[in-house]
């Protein structure tokens, strides 16, 4: 009877009003996921609109500098709209269109998912509303304006901590008001079934390509795949087609903010415990009374108190490792990649770069690391400047 489980995790813990929408979505997805014409349409969009396949770039300079494993970057930052988010959004909005929906709503933290959703809505001629924590609209003003340019209405969420968690809650509330014409384009591998599965499938294109590309380039599988994890969509996308390759280490980097031993972090695996929230059973940062904790990260996109249920399962079964990375380490890695390779990463992705910096030098020269560079850093430039004590005009 229970649907959408990854071991002990997952499920459908939502208000009754949403169950119809979830059932409809599940049926539609089950129908279209094996439908050749749908898949061809999506493939065409990914190739000719989103610019896939994305490059697998050999980062020669940092490889030499770190003096160990060969480092490759899976360049999701080169996708249209500048992040991996477009992969999922094109899939979901196409699905929504096929379902006869005329309006999409979405939550966003850093704004990348909001921008992607607004982009797809514009492309498909659909109405679009984005919910974003008020604090995040301030941190990511550039992306807010971008969404507006694309024709979306941006709602600043003032409840709770005014960040991603509250944006998710508010989008769910909005969805309960209008499910007939509206699809909720959920942005990560979280929430109630079937979202974790749908988002993972649409993001798995990352590891599908990376697997082929690395075999072509190196004649073998990578030794490690590293990705940042908030809800975990780019990470599951980067991991998915390697899960059965037991020799490949899968490493998720969570936001440790000011440190896992401080109250200001968003490291769910390091500091969280089992709970049920936002439609899923998974790990959450919470207090002893089951109240969801206000979390913190320099990166608005990782500033979420939970993690997708499939990641929770990969953690529990030991298939993937999850490590905390602090703001400081991420900012250093942001700077490092920019200066060494001429690639400015999203501050989210910089968390993954930071961990690669820690381990690459200890690995042999014939080993290979793939880092999922989930997005580009334009949106973070002002925040990084502020962090470094510099004020720049955006």
């Amino acid at each position: 009877m229970k649907k959408g489980r990854y071991g002990d995790f997952g499920g459908q813990y939502v208000p009754e009003t949403l169950m119809k929408a979830l059932d409809e979505l599940e049926q539609a997805y089950n129908n279209y996921k094996n439908d050749e014409s749908f898949q061809n349409e999506l493939k065409d969009l990914l190739a000719n609109y989103a610019a896939r396949p994305s490059l697998l770039y050999f980062a020669k300079n940092i490889t030499e500098d770190l003096g160990g494993a060969k480092i490759y970057l899976k360049r999701e930052d080169l996708n249209h709209t500048g992040s991996h988010k477009i992969n999922n959004v094109l899939g979901q909005v196409l699905l929504a269109k096929k379902m006869g929906k005329t309006r999409v709503i979405a939550e966003t933290g850093a704004g990348q998912h909001g921008v992607a959703a607004a982009t797809a809505a514009a492309l498909f001629g659909m109405e679009c509303e984005i919910f974003m924590g008020k604090e995040d609209t301030r941190r990511q003003a550039l992306n807010v304006y971008r969404m507006k340019l694309l024709g979306a209405k941006v709602n600043a969420v003032t409840s709770g901590t005014q960040t991603l968690k509250d944006a998710v809650s508010e989008t769910m509330r909005e969805w309960t008001k209008r499910i007939d014409d509206t699809h909720y384009v959920l942005g990560s591998v979280m929430g109630p079934h079937p979202f974790p599965e749908i988002v993972r499938d649409f993001q798995s294109v990352i590891s599908k390509e990376a697997r082929e590309q690395i075999i072509k380039a190196e004649g073998k599988l990578p030794d490690a795949v590293i990705a940042c994890v908030g809800g975990g969509s780019n990470a599951i996308g980067a991991f998915y087609n390697f899960i059965n390759d037991k020799s490949v280490r899968l490493i998720g980097c969570e936001a440790a903010g000011k440190g896992v031993d401080t109250p200001e972090n968003a490291a769910t695996i390091a500091n969280g415990s089992l709970g049920i929230f936002h439609g899923m059973k998974s790990y959450f940062c919470q207090n002893s009374e089951g109240q969801i904790a206000p979390v913190y990260s320099i990166s608005a996109g990782l500033d979420y108190p939970g993690i997708g249920p499939e990641h929770a399962h990969l953690h529990k079964t030991g298939r993937a490792e999850y490590v905390p990375v602090t703001d400081k380490e991420a900012v250093e890695a942001f700077d490092y990649l920019s200066k060494k390779e001429g690639i400015i990463p999203a501050i989210e992705s910089a968390h993954a770069v930071a961990h690669a910096k820690k381990i690459a030098g200890k690995m042999s020269k014939d080993s290979v690391i793939i880092i999922c560079l989930s997005g580009r850093g334009d949106k973070d430039v002002a925040a990084i400047a502020r962090y470094s004590g510099e004020n720049i005009d955006e």
């Binding site: 009374e289 089951g290 109240q291």
Partner: protein, 257 residues
């Protein structure tokens, strides 16, 4: 027959909701008795949660106020034990699944039994996920109150109705909790659909605030639930809400068909 179902026998109920700890737990104890004395036939007590996704602004505000008083589950249980002897109507908890899960289901429902709680309403625990708590609740004789919404299919409604305990909570309209001036859902036909499959009473909630709505809905349903309007009175009058609460509830009770 459960204590809740029993309460509906031969009469229509006005069901009142208030949030534990808003504005303070001693006041909650007082207001529960106020609601009872004014004629509420069943009282829902909210357990505050940081992220109440089914609630509109008014009840969200009550959650925040209660949590800012550092209300803990054990404090709520203590308060209930103190007034237990004065309570004659069934009490049910309304809260989200996470606080119960983290507290421990067995411990939680054992405490419910001790405190005289007869049922729980968990808006983020749909029918499909009720296995999570159902067998444990049975051990302590506590009912799980299931919601039906205007979007529930006939098949779902049938499943829910056939497995219902206590009463069925019919959500009057789409969206979250909150006062609505107009409810356009065809309550009559949904109640009829439910009644085809069960004898368990049906109460209508979400958006109800006026005596005219109570008069209308209680023509078809066995009870009418009011939350946001009551919470708003408590928000406005704070520690002095007993009198306006009592007047409000008396008027609403009078309107029952």
């Amino acid at each position: 027959m459960s204590k809740i179902t029993e309460a509906f026998k031969n009469k229509k109920l006005f069901i009142a909701y208030l949030m534990a700890g808003d504005p303070a737990l001693e006041k909650t104890a007082e207001y529960i008795l106020t609601l009872q004395n004014a004629g509420a036939g069943l009282i829902e007590i909210g357990i505050p949660f940081s992220d109440p996704i089914a609630e509109g602004e008014v009840i969200q505000g009550a959650n925040i106020r209660a949590l800012s008083n550092s209300i803990k589950l054990n404090d709520i249980f203590d308060m209930l034990v103190q007034i237990k002897d004065k309570i004659t109507v069934p009490l049910v908890f309304m809260t989200y699944i996470n606080p119960l899960f983290v507290y421990g289901y067995d411990k939680f429902f054992a405490m419910c039994e001790i405190c005289g709680i007869s049922g729980v309403i968990v808006p983020d625990l749909p029918f499909e996920e009720q296995d999570e708590i159902k067998s444990i609740m049975k051990k302590y004789g506590i009912d799980i109150i299931t919601l039906v919404s205007p979007t529930s299919s006939k098949e779902r409604t049938k499943n829910i109705a056939e497995n219902a305990q206590g009463f069925i909570y019919l959500v009057s309209s789409m969206g979250v909790t909150g006062v609505r001036s107009n409810i356009t859902t065809n309550i009559k036909s949904i109640v009829a659909e439910i009644k085809k499959n069960t004898d368990i009473p049906v109460a209508v909630g979400f958006g109800v605030s006026k005596p005219a709505q109570v008069a209308e809905f209680s023509k078809y349903a066995d009870g009418v639930i009011v939350g946001s309007a009551i919470v708003r009175i408590i928000e406005e009058f704070g520690e002095n809400a007993a009198k306006p609460l009592s007047e409000y509830v008396k008027n609403m009770v009078k309107a029952l068909s």
